[in-house]
């Protein structure tokens, strides 16, 4: 099926894009298009105007800068896989990128687009939550940052206004003794997650957990934080027992629905298992000597 007719605009700067967003109603922003193009073709979305941001070179970056790992709106999933900057310190990014869809889709789909799409089954939202990340949005009144916890409202709905463009997603550069991981359950390659968990741990000099971040995929109406699990971890020493208890908290906090892939009770159980595995990997990675960020 063909998409309904639309007007196609290709701004070459963020400024141009924002003025286009201001001047049209019924529009959609096109980045990688790996979810949007099928939605247009099945006419689930029928915008009159498509603002295609692929020509905005200033959005094509993935770098460490000013204390953040910054992903511009045109950084593709494959760019994360191929980046030298995204090394073991960013374990959850290293884990998540190759688990998304398939090679062809990773070459086109963008991290920021996936976050903006706000599909509760999307992986990057959980990573952003676990890392206490934020997005940068540009609108007619200038730029603002929105923390991950305030971003996701409902499935496919964020707190970003219609006339704003998310230009960047960013997470703080990992501290010393920080590690993170992402684990995902899916039936086969290319599927969305049935359940997924991003976990991040920061250890203190004595090896106790100083800070914990846990984001969950596909088990609530949005990507969701497991704050009870996080609270349980802080102050403890990493151990299988501590992680099992945290996994059970996360399972209780999750709110999955039964569907063709499994019953809600099964998914809750899987959240516990995935959380324990992700926490285990995060703790291992927090213990390894890591490369320092280059100034």
């Amino acid at each position: 099926m063909k998409a309904a007719r639309f007007e196609h605009h290709e701004p070459s700067t963020v400024g141009e894009a924002v003025s286009l967003l201001e001047s049209f109603d019924e529009l959609t922003i096109l980045a990688g298009g790996q979810s949007l193009v099928p939605m247009l073709r099945f006419r689930l979305a029928r915008p009159e105007t498509v603002v295609d941001i692929n020509g905005i070179d200033e959005l094509d970056y993935l770098e460490e800068d000013d204390g953040y790992l910054k992903l511009g709106a045109l950084a593709r999933h494959a760019d994360v896989q191929e980046s030298d900057v995204v090394d073991d310190r960013y374990g959850s990014f290293v884990d998540a990128a190759p688990l998304i869809a398939d090679p062809q889709i990773r070459n086109r789909g963008t991290v920021v687009g996936s976050i903006a799409q706000a599909d509760p089954k999307g992986d990057w939202g959980s990573v952003l939550i676990a890392h206490d990340g934020e997005v940068v949005a540009r609108g007619p009144d200038g730029e603002r940052t929105v923390p991950a916890d305030e971003l996701f409202l409902l499935p496919y709905d964020t707190s970003i206004d219609e006339d704003e463009l998310i230009t960047e997603a960013r997470v703080p550069v990992p501290a010393d003794r920080e590690g993170s991981a992402y684990h995902k359950l899916k039936r086969k390659t290319g599927d969305y997650a049935m359940a997924g968990v991003a976990a991040r741990l920061v250890l203190d000099a004595e090896g106790r957990i100083e800070e914990a971040g846990i984001g969950m995929t596909a088990v609530d109406i949005t990507n969701a934080r497991a704050s009870d699990a996080e609270d349980h971890l802080v102050g403890e020493r990493p151990s299988a027992d501590v992680f099992e208890a945290a996994g059970d908290f996360a399972a209780q906090e999750s709110n999955p629905e039964s569907d063709e892939h499994g019953a809600a009770s099964y998914k809750e159980r899987m959240i516990s298992v995935l959380a324990q595995r992700a926490l285990g990997d995060a703790a291992d990675r927090a213990g390894v000597t890591k490369r320092r960020a280059t100034p």
């Binding site: 298009g33 193009v37 247009l40 869809a101 398939d102 062809q104 889709i105 070459n107």
Partner: protein
């Protein structure tokens, strides 16, 4: 507001200028406007990979990209495989591999498989089985069970390692020529080996 746009696509080395509506998918432009029907539409949903082409060397699904987004880019499709230097004017080693190892039955997925295989071998000439399976993980085949497709790509990898192309000078492998050569060894490719601004064969990656 339904204006057609003029775009330029370089498909298999030939530049085409065509008028397309913004909603025209790349796969439709290739099949219907350029009449190159080797690129298939399988599922129409972005799952099956039969429409895989290379855009500027990277495999993408041409049913998930509008043609206007490919304006100015180089597109490679199955029709161009025999014209590639490594084909030596005959079937491309990948195509030969699919024939020799029975890498297809109905053949519907084959053009996409070939393009994913080509993208893999361009980047990694000597992949192991896991790497091959990962590279074709975005391509569905309902006939073969994939076993023979993996063998077909392995066949092509072996073939490419053994048979030097016309561009390489022909006759003997690069390694043999390197062993026999003096310091001024030159594989014939710019910015590689002993070619202009080139380095050592053992250090370069032949790109």
């Amino acid at each position: 507001m339904t204006d057609e746009r003029e775009i330029t696509l370089t498909v298999n080395g030939t530049e085409h200028t065509l008028e397309v509506e913004p909603r025209t998918l790349l796969v439709h432009a290739i099949r219907e406007d350029l009449d190159m029907t080797g690129t298939h539409i399988g599922c129409d949903t972005g799952n099956c990979g039969a429409c895989t082409v290379l855009q500027d060397g990277e495999p993408i699904k041409s049913c998930l990209t509008f043609a206007v987004q490919a304006d100015g880019s180089e597109v490679q499709t199955v029709e161009g495989m025999e014209e590639l230097p490594e084909a030596n004017g005959d079937l491309h080693p990948l195509q030969e591999g699919f024939r020799e190892e029975h890498g297809l039955q109905c053949g519907y997925c084959t053009p996409g498989m070939l393009m994913s295989g080509k993208a893999l071998l361009d980047e990694n000439p000597d992949p192991d089985e896991d790497e091959i399976r990962e590279a074709i993980s975005g391509n569905l085949c309902r006939c073969t069970g994939y076993q023979n497709i993996v063998k077909s790509i392995e066949y092509a990898s072996d073939e490419l390692a053994e048979t030097p192309t016309a561009a390489d000078g022909g006759g003997v492998t690069l390694e043999e020529r390197f062993d026999e050569a003096d310091d001024d060894f030159d594989c014939g490719i710019d910015n590689c080996c002993g070619g202009p601004a080139g380095g050592d064969l053992t250090e370069g990656d032949h790109q």
